[in-house]
């Protein structure tokens, strides 16, 4: 801890940061552009000029760039010095010379960092009277809109896109004030994090294209803290809504998880909410036709169904914890299914067990960034958990940080550290069947079938800890490879092993856990991370239930009269024949969902449920962190939260036949959570994921609209000119209007948007952090339910290693092993209802080993029939395997799957 003097005020600060950070942490308003907390300093924009004095006697001082000057003990600086002010005003005037006169038609307007900084420097009159340079824009695809005239050449975009996210198709072109940021030619930005340019760019060069179509100023939108539902990482988001429609999803800073960056699937995948496939009224099948019916009719119909016999409930890993638990309470544990196949369920439950048994660390995404050796086994993390992949990409920089520390270069000195790091070897080892986006930063990659990777994993574990089971009949090459990786991991201070259930292989996860546990013997900080498929997979693994196969057995035996399916498209889990059997065997199917799925056609009753933006609930991410999402949209009457629908169903039942207690008495979300905590002690801390509904700041609720939200007295006047009360929000501490408390100290789980005086852009976040890039001032968001196991892997208490080492995979002449090709855009269910994501996804292709020769198309015979697909050679794919896009070819994709592959004759017809 050091102290610096800013304009005569002594401010305690840290010694490993730069003066700009110190000034911002001290609450001073110092304008800047090129510096970004996650990207570090390069000193490109010259905007953060301040005066630094050499001592108390120094009256003259010298101008320094605050972002490039480290904090030194007792430094004396001045932001308000007239010379420094003039310098900054001059710099911004130069920047504004070519800035177009288009703020009214700019999507960045109202949350523009350039606007804020211009006002902050006091530049309000344009003196430049000559012509402005202009640029042609490019079409950058469905996510990002390009308007190059607005550029101030801070270089943040290329630094983020190339250096941070590892993209290669955005660059700086031309020279001096003609400098241009774009692609070599028009085309879609290929990186999975291109959407962050919208937030990274301090002005309106890169703006959100889908949001532009439904554009609203920031001050007009209601915000709510939310959690992304498109993978199991659980990135924190802010959802913005106006006129009861969702407008956009923004990043919400969570110091442990996503920090400043969100992947494109999370940012643009929300389109399913306003899609035409959305269910908005209860539907009842009457004479084979599904007819909209009032809510009361739907409930009466359900009550009639319930009298016919047993009710079985199926939830899904994409439903909130409260929804799952309420159905559990309605049907009872013996009739409650998780909606996953046995294999999926065993894998998620195994993941939960392995994580709870792991004696070392369970690192958060931010902790993964500081891992100095990473081993990824059999998981394309860039597709299944993109944000985690980005964290692993950052971990590669650890070696350059150590070099920089030795060279006494501060870590935030970005350009210098990256130059130093150019020679530093990577310590990321990737063992996957197919190429991944991380390959270009990996030290080495190894391509093999999942079973072979598991074998290699066990061999690595044995090489680290001789108490682990040995792998027999390993080839000398593999043995040497295992020894090499084991050595690299053991030499690290903070190794990390990552796997997941992409290939549905329990042995792969066990091998991973074995390596991590073996490492703990010498390195207690050794971390384990397992990637799960859906946003609440972990929550459901902790809740438990029957697999779908058991439900099928019960249905075939005629034991089920009513099946309640909540937020689950069974056709993605069960083959079409099984679904047809289920439909035939069960007389009444009740589907509670927000989106029309193929199952809805067969349902006797379809009930509209609220989506994540329209309800409140809790999700448990893959690292076991319970996080609450809050509603920004108040949907019209029949649409309601899942647990409220299930409660309504329970209330409609005849109490003498179905004695249900608890569920029917819950008044709000907090009571539902309290009941959950009673029933499942493991999940009890989830109650504390966010403050309860009665939380108040100075006796006030928290406002979810900005203080300057407009149109209050007119927005609904085409319906009724009378003023309507704002919608009630009984489950949350938020008021749905602009009335209420809002301050930088509010709890981290309850920040509905970022804005502080003079800071209207997302950069206002600096004011909400206790230190820049550090924890939020109001405390963390979410709570971890898993903690590392008590017992360390010692000789007294050895780790119970898994011993079922698989046999090596031997390619067959007539069949192939079909491996899932999980795609960032295309494999995930909900995001594929979002128009920009659909536009970004590509047609399914069949990946074949590069050595396999064949015509342009081949036929893959899966259980549901032959599929004629174009063939794409995949370098390194092991012999005897093919890559088939998950859920895009066969809707229900179960794996591993052995299938027959046929070439097509030249005529292109099936033989």
């Amino acid at each position: 801890m050091t102290t610096i003097r800013i304009d005569g005020r002594d401010c305690p600060t840290r010694s490993d940061i730069n003066l700009l950070q110190a000034c911002l942490e001290a609450g001073a308003n110092l304008p800047y552009f090129c510096w970004h907390p996650e990207l570090g300093s390069v000193g490109a924009c010259r905007q953060c000029a301040i005066k630094q004095f050499s001592g108390p006697e120094d009256r003259k001082g010298r101008i320094v760039m605050a972002c490039m000057t480290p904090v030194s003990e007792n430094a004396i600086i001045s932001i308000d010095d007239p010379e420094a002010r003039d310098f900054r005003a001059g710099v911004i005037e130069w920047m504004m010379v070519n800035h177009p006169h288009d703020c009214p038609v700019c999507e960045e307007g109202s949350e523009c960092h350039l606007q804020d900084m211009t006002v902050m420097t006091g530049h309000n009159t344009r003196r430049y009277r000559f012509t402005k340079r202009t640029h042609r824009n490019q079409d950058l695809g469905p996510f990002v809109k390009h308007e190059m005239n607005r550029c101030i050449a801070c270089y943040r975009c290329v630094r983020f896109y190339r250096d941070y996210a590892g993209g290669d198709d955005l660059a700086a072109f031309a020279s001096h004030d003609n400098v241009y940021f774009g692609r070599a030619e028009d085309g879609t930005l290929r990186n999975a994090f291109s959407g962050n340019l919208v937030e990274i760019c301090p002005t309106g060069v890169f703006t959100d294209k889908p949001f532009s179509a439904v554009y609203t100023r920031k001050w007009d939108m209601r915000g709510a803290p939310s959690v992304c539902v498109h993978c199991a990482v659980g990135c924190n988001t802010i959802v913005n809504a106006r006129e009861e429609t969702l407008r956009r999803v923004l990043n919400r800073y969570n110091t442990d998880i996503n920090r400043y960056v969100l992947c494109d699937r999370g940012r643009f995948g929300h389109g399913f909410i306003n899609a035409p496939t959305r269910i908005r009224t209860p539907l009842r099948a009457i004479d084979g036709q599904q007819v909209p019916v009032p809510m009361a009719d739907a409930l009466t119909a359900f009550a009639r169904m319930a009298t016919q016999g047993r009710i079985v409930g199926i939830v899904s890993p994409r439903a909130a914890l409260e929804t799952c638990f309420s159905l559990h309470a309605l049907v009872g544990p013996e009739h409650f299914s998780t909606g996953q196949t046995r294999q999926e369920q065993e894998c998620t439950e195994l993941a939960h067990t392995l994580l709870t048994r792991h004696p070392g660390a369970l690192p958060t995404l931010h902790e993964m960034e500081s891992a100095d050796a990473v081993l990824v086994l059999g998981e394309d993390v860039c597709a299944t958990a993109p944000r985690l992949g980005l964290s692993l990409r950052q971990s590669v920089r650890q070696a350059s940080f150590h070099t920089a520390d030795n060279a006494k270069v501060p870590r935030w000195m970005d350009a210098a550290v990256r130059t130093l790091g150019g020679e530093c070897p990577s310590n990321l080892h990737i063992l996957t069947p197919a190429p991944t986006d991380l390959d270009n930063v990996a030290a080495e990659t190894f391509r093999a079938a999942p079973d072979d990777i598991a074998r290699l994993g066990f061999a690595i574990a044995y090489a680290i800890d001789p108490f682990a089971p040995p792998v027999t009949d390993l080839t000398p090459d593999d043995a040497a490879h295992a020894a090499r990786i084991a050595q690299a991991l053991m030499a690290a201070r903070k190794p990390l092993v990552v796997s997941g259930m992409q290939y549905g292989s329990p042995t792969l996860m066990q091998a991973t856990a074995s390596i991590a546990a073996a490492l703990v013997r010498t390195i207690p900080a050794a971390g384990l991370s397992l990637v799960l498929p859906e946003c609440n997979s972990m929550g459901l693994a902790m809740l438990g239930g029957l697999p779908l196969e058991t439900v099928m057995e019960q249905a075939r035996a005629g034991e089920i009269s009513t099946l309640v399916v909540v937020e689950n498209d069974l056709t993605r889990h069960l083959d079409l024949a099984d679904v047809a059997d289920l439909v035939a065997a069960v007389p009444n199917i009740v589907v509670i969902d927000h989106t029309m799925t193929p199952l809805c056609q067969h349902a006797s009753l379809v009930l509209p449920i609220a989506t994540f933006s329209e309800s409140n609930g809790t999700l448990v991410n893959q690292e076991g962190r319970a996080q609450r999402f809050f509603q920004a949209v108040f949907p019209p009457a029949p649409i309601q939260a899942g647990w409220r629908w299930i409660q309504a169903l329970a209330r409609s039942l005849d109490p003498s036949m179905h004695p249900i207690t608890g569920l029917i008495d819950w008044r709000d979300l907090d009571e539902a959570l309290a009941a959950l905590a009673m029933a499942f002690p493991d999940l009890a801390p989830a109650v504390m994921a966010a403050p309860e509904a009665d939380y108040r700041i100075n006796g006030e609720k928290l406002r979810s609209q900005t203080y300057r939200a407009s149109g209050r007295t007119v927005i609904r006047s085409f319906v009724s000119v009378r003023d309507q009360p704002p919608p009630a929000s009984p489950d949350t501490p938020f008021s749905s209007s602009m009335e209420g408390a809002y301050e930088p100290d509010m709890p981290g789980a309850l920040v509905p948007y970022y804005q502080t005086p003079a800071w209207n852009s997302v950069q206002a976040l600096n004011r909400f952090q206790s230190e820049i890039g550090g924890p939020m001032r109001g405390g963390p968001s979410g709570i971890r339910l898993l903690s590392p196991a008590e017992n360390q892997n010692t000789e007294a208490q050895p780790y119970a290693y898994a011993t079922d080492i698989p046999a090596p995979y031997i390619p067959q002449a007539d069949t192939v092993l079909v491996l899932p090709d999980t795609r960032l855009f295309g494999s995930e269910e909900l995001s594929m209802f979002s128009p920009p994501i659909t536009a970004r996804s590509s047609a399914p292709t069949l990946g074949l080993p590069a050595s396999a020769t064949g015509s342009g198309r081949m036929v893959l015979h899966l259980e549901d029939g032959p599929h004629d697909l174009p063939v794409e050679p995949v370098p390194g794919l092991p012999e005897g395997t093919v890559l088939c896009p998950t859920h895009m070819v066969a809707r229900a994709f179960r794996f591993p799957r052995i299938a027959r592959l046929e070439g097509l004759t030249d005529g292109g017809e099936r033989p």
């Binding site: 109202s110 407009s710 007119v714 085409f718």
Partner: protein
């Protein structure tokens, strides 16, 4: 006594003064062009809507009686709907001051009485006039660096043609 008589006299003398009362509506008073009455949305000299749906009028409105939604055609921003609730409007003119394109203007018309309040909710078609209002020459897109049909990139006032990125000239 004297004071009472004086008051009576003064009052009586008013009978011979020039009348201040205007016989409205038979006789229309003069209202200056800057009088703050009924709000209109004006058009460019070329007849296109001036409003670019920037929302500044709505946010400036102290009684929150303006609401609109942006839409876009050929690079031109427009309001998809534009609604003013005149039963709430206080005719303060802040919206006109805030408008960066001279689209929203207050006119000297105040005869807006209605029997039913819903009739005071004006939609875009009720607000849009066919002329330019008080500012006959201004066209926002002539000065903004946004290309629209009929105006290429770099063709706005005080703009150079777009940069050729392949040029090697300094």
């Amino acid at each position: 006594m004297f004071n009472t008589l004086r008051t009576l006299l003064l009052t009586a003398l008013h009978a011979f003064h020039r009348r201040a009362t205007v016989q409205y509506p038979e006789q229309q008073p003069y209202l200056p062009p800057r009088y703050r009455g009924r709000i209109v949305l004006s058009r460019d000299p070329d007849g296109e809507e001036r409003c670019v749906a920037c929302n500044l009028c709505a946010v400036a409105c102290p009684v929150d009686c303006i609401s609109l939604q942006k839409t876009e055609t050929d690079g031109r921003w427009r309001p998809e709907y534009f609604r003013i609730n005149f039963s709430r409007c206080i005719f303060c003119g802040f919206c006109e001051e805030a408008c960066p394109t001279y689209a929203i203007q207050l006119t000297p018309d105040f005869e807006m009485g209605e029997y039913a309040r819903p009739n005071l909710v004006y939609e875009k078609e009720d607000l849009l006039i066919s002329g330019t209002g008080k500012y006959p020459d201004y066209s926002f897109y002539n000065v903004a660096g946004i290309p629209i049909p009929g105006k290429e990139r770099g063709a706005s006032e005080r703009e150079r043609p777009p940069i050729d990125l392949h040029s090697l000239l300094p």
